[in-house]
Symmetry: C2
DNA sequence: CAATTTCCTGAAAACGATTCCAGACTGACC
DNA sequence: GGTCAGTCTGGAATCGTTTTCAGGAAATTG
């Protein structure tokens, strides 16, 4: 159906090799033949078959992106940034959503492995060992998590938590709850770690509420539990969970922020649109995606030349209406 | 690096052809060799190179998904459904975000064309002619738009608009504004068509407000214009636009729904979480994605056997708090 | 004008898989 | 035991590229 290099060669009256050269390294062929080839190619609407090229060059110009849940608005933002940056370098994106299932991750990666030059794993849920075991020599960059020996890009959660806790402390809060996300999530552990350190710095009491799914429903599920505990503020694993809390609080007529302040994490679009608008720790989503691609391309260039790189992107507390002075 | 079929053949002490058969058509080889091959394959962690296979079989088991903007929460939902259904048939997904740029569409498709068995175009912005011109014999299924001669899946906007207008009419509204989306969007034209028919049925007056970007900012941009016009209700091209309206109305202390009722379209997650919760026309996003994949696979099976199929998915008005009785 | 270099080109091999074809072996049957 | 059918296997061709290699033409040099 589609034109191949041979069709172009025939039409231009040259060999396939010349067509290849004319298109890939124009300086190596006579201007005249180059022009003939170019015209033939455009007449036939010829575009090289990247899969075939990949077979021989070992470079597919495809990048595999794996993430736990496209329905979480955080990820589309990152993916979009990845897309944009990848396209800039003529890379195409393979997308795989694992549905928060750690067991699905490695098989999915493996199935795609030969069709891509490597992977960007966004918030992978699989175990470190598992990832390492797979990685053979497939280039892998990890986003929102650190797994030696892979290069990674993470948000500076510790600093974000410090800002959040500083803000709450200034408002008079002394007891704060944390609604934890998935146990398998490195971000969750990282945020908790940062939070613990921040609360101890400020000498505040931290109450941890069970692990929930990183969704609105997950937040709603523990809202009553949080409300029943002796805290004046709650920090959620992410914005979706925070919104679940807000929703349930409203349903029960628990005033936010008068009775309890709520802080989210990620700063998804939603956060600014609900009422009360959500105070949250913004993550540089675009930067994470973009940097991930850059690290990935570096990785491809100097094949295992040097030490793994860890980039940390800044976080920024966005104060909106869901936080206020502590009651009592 | 990675094991090839030859490595497996060597380890198992058989030829490459036998390895291929043992794995693809187990009944054609002796149980003993099959077992040897299977063990060798799993020892080496062998997975066939799909690109190489695609070269010869002409089937890549990849599906290309093209959409205008991943940042619009509508699309991730659809993509997720596509993923899930595609995976069920062992298909992987190539994703391309065109950034609402009609001119980017065809080149992007073309670049991917050889690596996929065909495309699912979500709300493509390119012109009909352009799409047809490209399509050569690449299987294409169109979502959220109808373009002969491609199979397509669309939402029943007309019915959705009928429901919305019926609802508003019952609440006493007689003059309603429509905030139009991108001019290049078929959905926009379709919704407008449905809306015109519905308002004329109910003998209501329709005022159309300029075309805006399908984003929150787009909605905010025309909110004042809408407020200044003599309407008691407004229907937005989609939920994001509706949210932009809500936001701006709140900023200006224009009461919703007391002074003006607002209706969205799509029913994205956000819609139920804002205050007032948005009345909107829900679209069967998952069904659209799923059906799209099914149509696509059908298309591959009986190669151009029969007439193009157009599926229409139901819409459902979700009444929330942003609509109420007309004032005056 | 001959010798040497440079430039350009085509043939052939390779990438990793699948499939067709033909041959080897097994067993059944006469 | 010989023939035949049937089962299983390996070799070779193939897909669409890229790349290496070598050779011919043109250009340069003495």
């Amino acid at each position: 159906m589609a034109a191949t290099i041979k069709d172009v060669a025939r039409l231009a009256g040259v060999s396939a090799s010349s067509v290849c050269r004319a298109l890939a390294k124009p300086e190596q062929v006579r201007p005249e033949t180059r022009e003939r080839v170019e015209r033939a190619a455009s007449d036939l609407g010829y575009y090289p078959n990247r899969a075939a090229r990949g077979l021989i060059t070992g470079r597919t110009a495809n990048i595999g992106v794996v993430l736990p849940d496209l329905a979480n608005p955080f990820f589309p933002s990152v993916v979009k940034a990845i897309q944009t940056q990848a396209r800039r370098f003529d890379y195409a994106v393979f997308l795989s959503d694992t549905d928060e299932d750690p067991a699905l991750e490695v098989p999915l990666i493996r199935a795609l492995a030969k069709q891509v030059d490597g992977f960007l794993l966004c918030s992978p849920r699989a175990g470190d060992e598992e990832l390492r075991a797979f990685a053979g020599h497939t280039p892998i960059v990890v986003l929102n998590r650190r797994v030696t020996p892979f290069p990674s890009v993470t948000a500076d959660s510790a600093d974000g938590m410090r800002q959040a806790i500083g803000h709450l402390h200034a408002l008079g809060h002394r007891r704060v709850a944390y609604v934890a996300g998935p146990r398998t999530s490195w971000s969750n552990r990282d945020r908790l770690r940062g939070l613990r350190s921040a609360t101890s710095t400020y000498d505040m009491e931290l109450i941890e509420a069970g692990n929930v799914a990183p969704t609105v429903d997950g937040g709603a599920a523990v809202a009553d539990l949080v409300a029943a505990s002796p805290v004046t503020a709650v920090i959620a694993y992410n914005d979706l969970v925070a919104l679940g809390l807000l929703n349930r609080f409203r349903a029960r007529e628990i005033a936010v922020p008068e009775r309890i302040s709520v802080v989210g994490f990620d700063d998804i679009l939603l956060a600014g649109l609900v009422t009360p608008a959500l105070t949250t720790v913004a993550i540089a989503k675009e930067q994470i995606g973009r940097t991930g691609v850059d690290l990935f391309l570096d990785l491809l260039k100097d094949d295992e030349g040097r030490k793994p790189v860890h980039k940390r992107t800044p976080t920024q507390l966005i104060v909106r209406a869901s936080t206020g002075p502590a009651h009592l």
